[in-house]
Amino acid sequence: MPPATGTVVVVDAIEVRGLRKRYGGTTAADGVDLTVPAGTVVGLLGPNGVGKTTTVECVAGLRTPDSGTVRVLGLDPRRDRRAVRAVLGVQLQEAALHDMLTAGELMALHRALHRTGRDPGGLLDAVGLGAQAGIRSDRLSGGQRQRLSVALALVGAPRVVVLDELTTGLDPASRETVLDLVRGLAAGGVAVLLVSHRMDEVERLCDRAVLLDAGRVVADASPDGLVAAAGLAPRVRFRTDAVVDRSALCALPGVDAVTRTGHEVAVTGRGELLGPVGAELVRQGVVATGLRAERPTLDDAFLALTGHRAGPRAEVAA
């Protein structure tokens, strides 16, 4: 019997439903829902210790969830682990390389572990390590090891990729190389789950961002959508020594509030604020410096949605 025509089964490449995982008395994941469709990059964000790595380890089949389901291309990473390992490429946070093998030998080894895959030499070139192929991995720099680790995750031509803290320790040029590589993956139909606490990276790379806090998803939207969801108003800031007629500024169309802290004045509201505020300052004869519009960033959104910063300084007890 041929399959009924017009039947399209859409399977998210990664599908996590109601994932719960506790270690002793600590809840690492508390009902995480997450999907990554093929051909997209989804960012998993949050400070350390909120369950990002636990979620990723369950996707990779390294841990068994206490409850909830995890599927990779419709397969259970624990029950169908052999099938999942064949289609999933994982870059773990710790590089974990055989110290005594060279970059080239490691690439060849990992390529041989897969039935299909990419050219190891070409991939080393793609992460900018072509010249380091003959160097033992324990003599590579931290950033070089990181890039090698990314290349090893991709050498089996996986259809689903999990990258945990992709660009840690990379210099700016290497970061661009690696980010380009990830963009290319998604363009080729690969599903990418990117764990990060670098908001700039997520804004540039991800089609969707999932915010985790204390083991729960607190937001799941496009990076722009997250900023909108946080309800953060655009802001105009300037510095001045002069007295400012605040009620006149408040009366401008779109302005919601004017706050002053010492010489620093902030005008918040909706829409385009910079032009009207500038014109009003000129009308008042106020000399202002550093007049600028600030769009809220994903960082601000993160702060508004979780109550703390995304960066490593927000580290909480795991």
């Binding site: 990779a60 064949a86 590089a95 055989h98 093998l101 080894l109």
Partner: protein, 254 residues
């Protein structure tokens, strides 16, 4: 998804080749099991301890004592020191975890390391036998199949002990320390430093059933062509079971 999964044959080859490369680059681990046995043979062969005919039969002291303890030394060094140190390093550095997310899974890397370990044992014993044959005119055992069987049993015993060390040791250094203590402990009681019958009675009895002494006994009797002490064979068999049991019970992948 009809694609075949799991580790392809080429992957097995690559894993064994990678382990062999690393063992070859670990200079001290490579050289000691190749050079120490010939030194032991030279020591035994040149000092020629005065042993009674009921110990030697019609064979030479190098054949009945030297080669058996040289074989036990190779097995003890590779099985209890080298292999566990690699395995502990892999666990510590996360290599086992990393391979756990490839089609290989973590288990084949242990098997590959074991295969390379056995190859290293074969090389060490080959070198020892070559030196014994050329320098001291040693010949093959009078009971070659008993010798081979004893060697297989002894290999299983030392590798099982090594697996237990790898399971219990948190770091490579701990594994090496534990392996070296076991090496000298069983070696001392088993005749590494001279005729174990010179030891006080109970110690000599213990040494004869521990893997080092038991290996020397089983191989020595095979060279003479007489039956081994059943206690020695039982000692090796029990070591296999206990070592493997501890390893299976306590091994951690991460």
């Amino acid at each position: 998804m009809s694609a075949r999964t799991g580790l392809p044959a080429r992957g097995w080859g690559a894993l064994v080749a990678a382990e062999a490369r690393m063992v070859a680059r670990d200079t001290s681990g490579l050289v000691v099991p190749l050079l120490l046995p010939p030194l032991i043979l030279v020591m035994v062969g040149t000092t020629a301890p005065d042993l009674p005919p009921e110990v030697l039969g019609d064979r030479s002291v190098v054949e009945v004592v030297g080669l058996p303890i040289a074989c036990a030394t190779v097995l003890a060094l590779v099985g209890m020191v080298n292999v566990p140190s690699f395995v502990a390093t892999y666990r510590r550095s996360g290599v086992l975890r990393r391979l756990g997310v490839t089609p290989a899974g973590p288990a084949p890397v242990l098997l590959a390391q074991g295969i390379v370990g056995v190859a290293q044992v074969a090389a060490g014993i080959g070198v020892a036998f070559g030196v014994a044959a050329v320098a001291f005119g040693a010949g093959i055992p009078a009971a070659p199949w008993a010798a081979l069987g004893g060697l297989v049993l002894a290999t299983a015993a030392f590798f099982a002990l090594g697996a237990a060390v790898a399971a219990l040791a948190p770091t490579a250094n701990a594994a090496i320390a534990a392996g070296v203590v076991l090496f000298f402990g069983t070696g001392m009681l088993g005749g590494m430093f001279g005729d174990p019958r010179a030891l006080p009675g109970p110690l000599a009895g213990i040494g004869r059933v521990l893997p080092y002494g038991a290996t020397a006994e089983v191989l020595g009797t095979a060279w003479r062509g007489v039956a081994p002490d059943p206690g020695a064979v039982a000692g090796l068999a029990v070591t296999v079971l206990v070592g493997a049991g501890v390893a299976v019970r306590f091994f951690r992948w991460t």
